[in-house]
């Protein structure tokens, strides 16, 4: 930003003899600005802008990495959506991802809010609990997948053993199509640490005066939670809901690890119950060598995410009005 005061000052100060006058940074400053930006700009063009445009173009072509793409118009899109012989699992993968999102996101938010409320209620040890509850977040998905496959092991898995103490018969979590989504959603809730930290920040932002006023008005803890805390956390919840839905619709690495380990060849679990949309997309791109169709799938996802996000914004605006 041009700073008139500073420019005045630097011209007003007499320069020492032998030194060039230096009004601001001079004309070359623009060049310096571009130079500093150049590496990031090259990256941006090569790995963001160009890929985004290229993905759109490829989605209208028949293409694998070995041949050059040939234009097929909207065929990838119409085939994916309507040709269940060519793409038998497209709608299944849509269903799996929607179901996963519907189960995992609310479960994760409830877990995060619960943890945040508990931590917010204590003083001593709050840092320790925050840290312990955050551990699962920094863990690599490959490790998370490996650890949970072992925990969910039907015979010797810790989960079945512990449930057995309460008389629950052992479940084949990752091989029973009905249990795959709940099992995956539980892992998602286990990793709710980021949302918990953000909820904690939201809770700290609620002014004490509001809570005190509610106490004076005779509100009990449940009422205070429903009438004061929840409404004050609404922007936080909304943010976490939008980002959570976007992330859940794209879940991939975890299911890839869990179901590739189970079957050697990736198929998306029992009866494709774990064939999430992005896992399906990955298989098209890198196993079946159908890059064009994969790009079309990625744009269908992009449009879907944009619609969902717009709807969420609209819904919240209506609520606020």
């Amino acid at each position: 930003m041009a700073n008139p005061v500073l420019a005045d000052r630097s011209t007003a100060t007499p320069d020492k003899p032998g030194r060039r006058p230096r009004p601001g940074f001079g004309r070359r400053d623009h060049v310096v600005g571009w130079l500093l930006l150049a590496p990031a700009l090259v990256y941006f063009v090569a790995f963001l802008l160009y890929p985004a445009i290229a993905a759109l173009y490829y989605s209208f072509t028949d293409w694998n990495l070995r041949s050059s793409p040939s234009w097929v118009g909207l065929a990838n899109y119409t085939d994916l959506l309507f040709d269940d012989v060519k793409y038998p699992h497209f709608w299944k993968s849509v269903q799996v991802s929607l179901l996963y999102t519907l189960v995992a996101v609310p479960l994760t938010l409830v877990a995060a809010l619960g943890q945040a409320l508990l931590i917010n209620a204590i003083r001593k040890g709050s840092n320790l609990f925050r840290l312990l509850l955050f551990l699962p977040v920094v863990t690599a998905e490959a490790a998370v997948g490996a650890i949970w496959r072992w925990l969910y092991d039907p015979q010797y898995g810790l989960i079945n053993i512990i449930l057995g103490w309460f008389g629950v018969p052992p479940q084949n979590w990752l091989n029973n199509p009905d249990l795959v989504i709940p099992a995956l959603a539980f892992i998602s809730a286990w990793q709710c640490g980021i949302s918990m930290i953000i909820y904690l920040a939201g809770l700290k932002g609620i002014p004490d005066s509001l809570r005190e006023a509610a106490v004076i008005d005779g509100a009990g803890p449940v009422q205070r939670f429903r009438k004061v805390v929840l409404p004050m956390l609404r922007p936080t919840t909304f943010y976490l809901l939008v980002t959570g839905v976007i992330a859940a619709l794209q879940v991939f690495g975890l299911v890839y690890v869990i179901f590739s380990a189970a079957n050697k060849s990736v198929t998306g679990g029992p009866e494709q119950a774990g064939l999430t949309y992005v896992l399906h997309l990955y298989l098209f791109a890198f196993r079946y060598d159908a890059m064009g169709a994969a790009c079309a799938m990625s744009f269908i996802l992009l449009v879907f995410i944009m619609i969902i996000t717009a709807l969420q914004f609209k819904f919240v605006k209506q609520e606020a009005a």
Binding site: G33, W34, F44, P51, V138, A143, W190, L281
Partner: protein, 279 residues
Amino acid sequence: MKNIRLAPIYIALIVLAAISVVPFIWMLSTSFKHGHDVYTKVPSLLPLDRKTGEWAPTLENYEYVFDLRGLGTAFVNSVWVCLILIPAKLLIDALAAYSFARIPFPGRDKLFVLMLGGMMVPTITLLVPRVFVTQELGLFDSQWGLIVPNIASVLDIFLLRQFFMSLPGELEEAARIDGAGRMQIFWRIIVPLSKPVLSVVTITSFIFHWNDLVWPLVVLNDPEKYTLPLALQQLATAEAGRSYYIMAGAAVAVIPVIAVLLIFQRRILQGIAFSGLKS
């Protein structure tokens, strides 16, 4: 009185913390058990002998995955990639952020908005063409293919720019009057003042790239070049059913990151609130 009221809260937190931590303890204990001590009906959180119940830990699972399953090579690869990638990325992001924050040139703010817009596109949409670009650059199936396509981050540029803009301008003005150029100001004033945000970006970048599975998965074929997450995924496939090996591999991948979390916990937990660990 107050302590009694808090008791249920502490009990709930202990249960939740146990759910959070027990999987890691289970991972560690399995990784130190002999194969024949793993499959028992009564779970043991300690590496005990199945028959005698005596303390019987072993390192043979670690030796096996390190030497015969490529985890040792993968560990070195992961360290190597992070050692090159993270400093390079930090420098590129910080320079760009400084330019965006402080150097007024025509079109700057439009460019910045365009970059932010690019951040909104889901990475999965970009995945296939990115692989294609990487291939065209001759970086496919090489470690540079892990580094170059990740060499900058719009999110980090954004975070750094916001921080740089919040720095008081007086110091820079004084340096400017003393004849310091842009680069001198950047290194002598901006960088020292920005240590908190630079360390947040460094740590979150490390965690993200150390853990990243998807990009190495699509770019690497040669097992000699695998990074830890990919080697672990392969191990979990090849040794399915031998959980003691898999848990040893998982521990190798997890422990460095947990160490970083423990050391830098304050920075990370503060940073997370606005950067969200790139997810």
